[in-house]
Amino acid sequence: MSQPAVVELAGISTVFGRQHIHRNLNLRVEAGQIVGLLGGSGSGKTTLLREMLGLLRPTAGSVRLFGIDLNDGDALTQRAVRRRLGMLFQHGALFSALSVFDNIAFPLRELRCLDEDWICRLVHLKLAMVELEPAHGKLMPAELSGGMVKRVALARALALEPELLLLDEPTAGLDPDRSQNFVDLVGSLQQALGLTVVMVTHDLNTLAGLASHVAVLADGHIIACGPKAEVMTVDHPFVTGFFGADRRKLL
């Protein structure tokens, strides 16, 4: 039995006003892949990510997660799909009125069938997973440093043990050392939990350290998609310009 692709975008077109963001875009992400989504500023990467999450409806085309169409009407199916994915927003999007502990516990509490002891243990597991101390649970999001915000946001995204993890600029705003730590962290979690990861990034080191596959978004569609080494050799002005002289280093 062949499993359906984790993410399947078919014939996506997005139009904002008169501006065409995506034209007939196709993308397939199989289970277990770590796909880095590349593209210039304003090429519609984040828009594409939001469409995968169902936050934004494409003008035309279909988005299927785990083989289920996101624009299907049934609210229960929709919620079941959402519970199978975790999203790390660029700026964390932590609930500022809740403490770190409550932020991570939030999606677990929303299931309404786990008791407090269970939730408490799970939250501490997640905190340990992203290498934070139990004492950090009492802090409020405003008291955290940028790197810690990302870690807590990652812990919250992982709270329901999703099969698909979406990352928007996971290392933006972190220093090289921290961003390397974060890349290692996501990489080891991916191996331990068997996640499928789709990430949008500008950072070549993040891409080199984490991605197994690369999809390049330019001119409104995916111009290249495949294993990292393959995409590097594509002869397109954007690809050569983006990787430039560093092409060799990334291989």
């Binding site: 199978r84 009125a97 002891d117 269970w118 408490c120 799970l122 139990p134 043990e161 331990a192």
Partner: protein, 368 residues
Amino acid sequence: MNDNPRLQVASGRVVLTGQWTLAAMLPDLAILEDQLAGAGRSVGVWDLSGISRLDSAAAVLLWRTWGNAWPATLEISTLHRQVLTRVAELPQQIPGPPVRPFHPLEVVGLLTLKALANLRGMIALFGQLLLDLGYLFRYPGDIPWKEITANLYKSGAQALPVTALVGFLIGITISYLSALQLKNFGADLFIVNILGISIIRELGPVLVAVLVAGRSGSAMTAQIGVMRVTEEIDALSTMGISRTVRIVLPKILGLTAAMPLIVLWTSAVALLGGMVAAMLQLDLSLIYFVENLPRAVPVANLLIGLGKGVVFGFVIALIACHFGLHVKPNTESLSANTTSAVVTAITAVILVDAVFAIFTRHIGVPSL
């Protein structure tokens, strides 16, 4: 995929198969928990080699079933053993969220301290305002005219329709109710005195103050608060621009200047409403009303009303700016401070009104 979590107890062994993940367990979580609890007490041999996935939620469930200890015999793949090990390594005593005992005295004390801190902050802001005014007096080129006029427009001109509507309706109501009483005593003509004094001296300013506190005061707090959350105020400071001169001062000056004008406008519209109601109810002609108004209401009342408007506007803007500047960067604090600003402003306005009433008790009351 027919890979649901399953549990079988056979000849002293518990055999688990399928996907042991939170998502897969959810549909019949209660049944699984019961089965596990039943098996956990009696059996010491667990066979987990047949499960395809094990996530930490399921691992916690199993660990709790085993009473926080490894079972006597456990068959499991290395990968899944790691997941269980991670749960086992959690400290036994997990510090829960701290619960603060409730002491009424402590709460009262905290509230008092908070009120005093707010009072101190407002006095400090007032002092800063005076210093800024002194600075602007010496360097008139730095006066933020644009911001002041923008605030005048926003909190003054744009408030005209709503204050007019409310004023008109209140005028009609008071006039109608008084007319019913006055008719009984044959004292119809005194409607001019009642409406004139009550609206011009008291109701107009207070009514406008309450409306403006809800409308402009909350807007000021929210605006300054969001500017703090998004670090816009810090950005201003780094450009060497004083936040009080550019943000607080224009709001306070703008509202202080706009309030007496809105008071005048609202009182006028409320009187118009009262006149119309008196005309319909008591057959009192508009001309009689207008001619007798100056006689019944000494001009001092108008000045008191306008003076109240100035002070109320200043108080509302000062309180709104104070709470706005003390918003902490989270959504809860923003909403709490906006609420505090409006509630404090309305309370302060009524307090100040009482002070006004005491100090002006001999002024402007016509003696018959």
